[in-house]
Symmetry: C2
Subunit: 253 residues, 2 copies
DNA sequence: ATTCACAATATTGTGCACAATATGCCCTGA
DNA sequence: TCAGGGCATATTGTGCACAATATTGTGAAT
């Protein structure tokens, strides 16, 4: 049993990040155990991990609830991103390898093209990846992990607070950041990153009514689980004949 | 049973951070359960938390081991600190409140005084607190938590790699950072922070032999636990008569 | 009608016993 | 003497049953 509970984690996390679960809805251990077909303690561990990542709120003796961030918490997240990503570009300015520089430039071109073609879904994905790509340029697994958590929580935020229209980063702002990086100007890069994130934050609108696209946690998770299982079954079948003991020891859990 | 396992966590963490446990030593659940007088699952949860904080290395089906960082990992930690703390001072420059500014200046004076009086223990503590104090100035619980984890791991590092002589930050470097902050110069503050942390990192020396002051995990932890218990017993007695239901609900765990 | 007390129910938390797994030792065979 | 296989042991992981706790529902008294 090497990975099945990681799959459960991903399934629930994906549903949460996409905003498909009603905020503040409770996730009952026994019910999930039934849905996913595993014992309750498996579910319990997964829920605690999700709680640690702040995607769920855990209340002792009460249960696990879908995190429903307040606007204030949202602003805290963006402030944290300003600090961390400001630190990243400040450290990166003038120290990019040529490979990193070309990769970033290529990415910027992709963003521009997607925007010109009015491909909204692609635009959103690419403009998010720009930030991850920057984090990957610094040689620090720690910072990368932290930023990924922040980006996850940001995804959850936009599902709650973002007006349906317009959700991608303006790509001139990315260009400005990249320009400062290439020029080796840390102060300018940091300032550009700060204003960029602040502009995004400005678009958050206080929720008046509850969101529309929220399903019962149970049914939504059951559906997500069904598709996940189907996908892995296919993948498993595809590699069935290949070498079976390629990995001897899982490096870490 | 509101907090006893937090106390256990702190006890083990303190022993680890002080470097009093032999690197790579195994912490056996049953043994610890015996020492601390609780059930094995309590210990298990604590060990997993310590593993998540990277103070222990958890290997599936094998157990929990005292983290013994390599020099490379140490450098990664310092790189992460350069990024995060660089981001902090970059965000803080020119935005300190007067209260924060005076608090930082006062702290700097304390450091200077301790250094002048050649009070080594105090100097080390104060120069560490300077960094935490900076992190507390930004209004971001997230960043504060992350930096505290980084500082924890740094403490562990110096226990392994630092030559016994000299372990406090040079306080002119702190003064330079503070000066740049007050002047509102983000670039200078960030640069000062980068060089400051790099200078500290330079002092790390590759370990040739195993450290001297490492005890058996069991005996060391038993001793630490005895003193911790004594302390809390005293504290409990002291507040025995006070209002007993001051807190109604624990806000979070 | 409202509020308080209290029972009933639903949900999480924990101890225990056993299963799964890894490691070290010993014994055998060349 | 050493390599290899298999058993013995030590340790972690998990399922289950029950305990602890919070919430909801009900009824009576004011």
């Amino acid at each position: 049993m090497p990975a099945p509970e990681d799959l459960i984690y991903d399934t629930i996390a994906k549903a949460l990040l996409a905003g498909r679960l009603a905020p503040a809805a409770q996730l009952v251990e026994a019910r999930l155990a039934d849905i996913f077909g595993v014992s309750r303690e498996r579910i319990r561990k997964v829920l605690h991990r999700l709680g640690h990542a702040r995607l769920l709120e855990l209340i002792p003796n009460r249960g696990a609830f879908v995190a429903s961030p307040t606007l204030d918490q949202a602003r805290e997240i963006y402030e944290a991103r300003r600090i961390v990503e400001g630190g990243i570009v400040g450290r990166l300015a003038g120290r990019l390898t040529v490979a990193q520089a070309t990769a970033l430039r290529a990415h910027a071109r992709l963003e521009e093209a997607a925007l010109k073609r009015a491909d909204r879904a692609l635009s959103i994905r690419l403009s998010g990846e720009f930030h991850t790509l920057l984090a990957e340029c610094v040689a620090s697994p720690f910072v990368l992990r932290q930023l990924q958590e922040l980006v996850s929580r940001t995804s959850m935020l936009v599902a709650f607070f973002e007006p349906a229209t317009s959700s991608e980063c303006a790509c001139e702002e990315h260009a400005e950041i990249l320009g400062a990086l290439l020029k080796g100007d840390p102060a300018r890069a940091m300032k550009a990153m700060h204003t960029h994130l602040s502009l995004i934050e400005t678009r958050l609108t206080p929720r008046v009514a509850l969101p529309e696209a929220v399903a019962e946690p149970e049914t939504e998770l059951a559906r997500a689980w069904a598709t996940a299982i189907k996908a892995t079954a296919k993948a498993t079948r595809r590699v069935a004949g290949k070498a079976q003991r390629t990995q001897r020891k899982s490096p870490r859990t």
